[in-house]
C-alpha cells in the first residue's frame, strides 16, 4: 500500500514538475497562448482542462478492457468531447463572463493534445488509481503553467494580478503583453528559463556525483 502511494505521488509530481506538460513537453500550446492574458483566465482554462482530464482519465482507465484497440482513439475522443461539452454548458450557465473571455477555446479543449496524449500513453494502460494520480499531476502542471503565464502577462499588461491593481493609476500598460505576441514572447522566455534551470540542475548533480565519487 505504502509503495503504491509512493508511486502515485511520483506520478503526480512528474506532471507538475519533471514532465510539466507545458514547460517540458510543450503540449497544449493553443489554449496556453490564446487565453492567458490574465491570471483569472488561466485559472478558468486550467480548471476546465483539469475537470476534463480527470474525468476522461478515470473513464478510460475504467473501461480500458472493454474498448477494442482498433477503435480506442475514437472512443477516447468521444469521452473527452462529452466532458468538454459538459464543461462548456456549465460554464455558460454559471460564469457567462468567463465563458465569453475564453470563447472558442473551451470547445477546443477536445483538441488539446495533452488530454488525448495522457489517455493513450497512460490511462489506458494503468490502474484507475495511477491514472487519476497522473491526470491530477498533469492537470496541476498545466494549471500552474497557465496561471504563471497569465499572471506575468496581466502584471505587465495591465498592472494587475487577479484584477487587483498593483502599481496605482499611473501604470503604463505593456500593450503587447495582452496581445498574442506577448504570449509567444513570455512563453519563449519561460521555456528558456526552465531549460536554464534544468541545465543548472544537471551541472549541480554532476558536481555532487563527482565529489561523492571522490569521497568513496
Amino acid at each position: 500500500m505504502a509503495k503504491s502511494e509512493k508511486q502515485a505521488y511520483d506520478e503526480f509530481i512528474k506532471g507538475v514538475w519533471r514532465e510539466n506538460p507545458v514547460f517540458v513537453q510543450v503540449l497544449g500550446m493553443c489554449p496556453m497562448l490564446a487565453v492567458t492574458n490574465s491570471a483569472i483566465n488561466g485559472v478558468a482554462m486550467g480548471m476546465a482542462t483539469f475537470f476534463v482530464l480527470m474525468g476522461s482519465s478515470f473513464l478510460v482507465s475504467l473501461l480500458k478492457n472493454l474498448i477494442p484497440k482498433q477503435v480506442r482513439i475514437s472512443c477516447f475522443i468521444i469521452i473527452i468531447a462529452t466532458f468538454v461539452t459538459v464543461v462548456d454548458y456549465v460554464l455558460l450557465a454559471t460564469l457567462p463572463g468567463i465563458h465569453k473571455e475564453l470563447g472558442a477555446f473551451i470547445p477546443l479543449i477536445v483538441a488539446n493534445c495533452l488530454i488525448l496524449g495522457r489517455q493513450e500513453a497512460f490511462a489506458s494502460r494503468n490502474t484507475i488509481r495511477m491514472a487519476l494520480a497522473d491526470a491530477l499531476g498533469m492537470a496541476a502542471g498545466f494549471l500552474f503553467a497557465l496561471v504563471a503565464l497569465g499572471g506575468i502577462r496581466e502584471i505587465l499588461g495591465e498592472g494587475k494580478l487577479f484584477g487587483i491593481s498593483l502599481f496605482g493609476d499611473n501604470f503604463e500598460p505593456w500593450v503587447i503583453m495582452i496581445l498574442p505576441p506577448g504570449g509567444f514572447i513570455t512563453l519563449g522566455l519561460m521555456l528558456l528559463f526552465f531549460n536554464w534551470l534544468e541545465e543548472k540542475k544537471k551541472k549541480l548533480d554532476a558536481q555532487v556525483a563527482a565529489t561523492e565519487g571522490s569521497d568513496l
Binding site: N37, K64, N65, L66, I67, P68, K69, Q70, V71, S74, C75, I78, I79, A81, T82, T85, V86, Y89, V90, L92, A93, T94, P96, R125, G157, E158, P173, V175, I178, L179
Partner: protein, 231 residues
C-alpha cells in the same frame, strides 16, 4: 494490457460488429449525458443572455423600465415575442408609466481588429442618439478598447444629433451637436463605432414608426423572460 485482450489479439481481430457496437454504445451514452446537461443548463443560459441584453438596453436608453422586441414586417414595426431565425430585431424602451421612450438599435461592422457589435439608444422625437454600448469587440487592449473603457468617449453619445449624420473629429474639436471626439491613438476604432451607428440609422430610421405612433407596450409580456417563461 489484460490477458483477455491479448488472447483476443492472438485469436485475430475482434469482429467488426464488436467495434461498431462499442462506438455506438459510447456515442449513445455521450449523447444522453450531453442532452441531460443541455436541458439542465438551458434555462439559466437563456436567462443570462436575456439579462445581458436587457441591461444593455437599459444602459443606452436612460429612464427606461420595460422593453419589448420589434420586427420590421410589411412596412411597419410589429411587436415580436418569439425569436425567429435570421430576424434582425430592434428594441423599444418604455418608462414606468408605459410611455414610449426610444429605440435600442443593434448593429455590427468591421472595427480595427474584428467585428464590433454596437447597441445604441435613439430617441425619434428629438432625432438624437442617447447612449452607446459595445456588445462585443476585440479591439486592441489599451487603445481600441477605449471605445467602451473610456467614459469620455462613451459620453459623446449621450446626446448626439444624427442630422445630417454623425462625424468623428479629432479629439477636442467637437463643436457641432453631430460631432464625436475621436480617441487619440484609436482613430480607426472610433470612426468604426460612428460608421456602424450611421449605417444602423440608414437602415432603421426610415422604417421606424412616426413619433407618437410607436407600438404600445403590451402589458402581459413586458419583458422577454416572461415571454420565454410562458412559452
Amino acid at each position: 494490457m489484460s490477458e483477455e485482450k491479448q488472447a483476443a489479439a492472438e485469436a485475430g481481430e475482434p469482429s467488426s460488429n464488436r467495434l461498431v457496437g462499442t462506438l455506438a454504445v459510447a456515442g449513445l451514452l455521450s449523447g444522453i449525458i450531453i442532452i441531460t446537461v443541455y436541458l439542465a443548463t438551458f434555462d439559466t443560459i437563456k436567462e443570462n443572455k436575456a439579462r445581458e441584453l436587457r441591461e444593455a438596453v437599459f444602459r443606452v436608453l436612460p429612464g427606461v423600465d420595460k422593453m419589448q422586441r420589434f420586427l420590421h414586417k410589411e412596412g411597419a414595426l410589429v411587436v415580436s415575442h418569439v425569436e425567429e431565425k435570421g430576424e434582425k430585431p430592434i428594441y423599444g424602451g418604455y418608462d414606468k408609466a408605459g410611455k414610449f421612450v426610444g429605440y435600442a438599435i443593434p448593429n455590427a461592422g468591421p472595427g480595427f481588429q474584428d467585428t464590433v457589435s454596437v447597441l445604441y439608444g435613439y430617441k425619434p422625437a428629438e432625432r438624437v442618439v442617447v447612449g452607446m454600448w459595445i456588445l462585443d469587440s476585440r479591439e486592441t487592449p489599451g487603445l481600441g478598447d477605449k471605445i467602451y473603457k473610456d467614459a469620455e468617449f462613451v459620453a459623446n453619445f449621450d446626446h448626439l444629433s444624427v442630422d445630417p449624420k454623425i462625424v468623428a473629429v479629432k479629439k477636442g474639436r467637437k463643436a457641432k451637436p453631430n460631432e464625436v471626439d475621436a480617441i487619440t491613438g484609436a482613430t480607426i476604432s472610433s470612426k468604426a463605432v460612428v460608421r456602424i451607428i450611421n449605417e444602423g440609422n440608414e437602415r432603421w430610421l426610415p422604417k421606424l414608426s412616426k413619433p407618437g405612433l410607436e407600438p404600445a407596450l403590451e402589458k402581459v409580456e413586458a419583458t422577454p423572460e416572461k415571454a420565454e417563461a410562458e412559452k
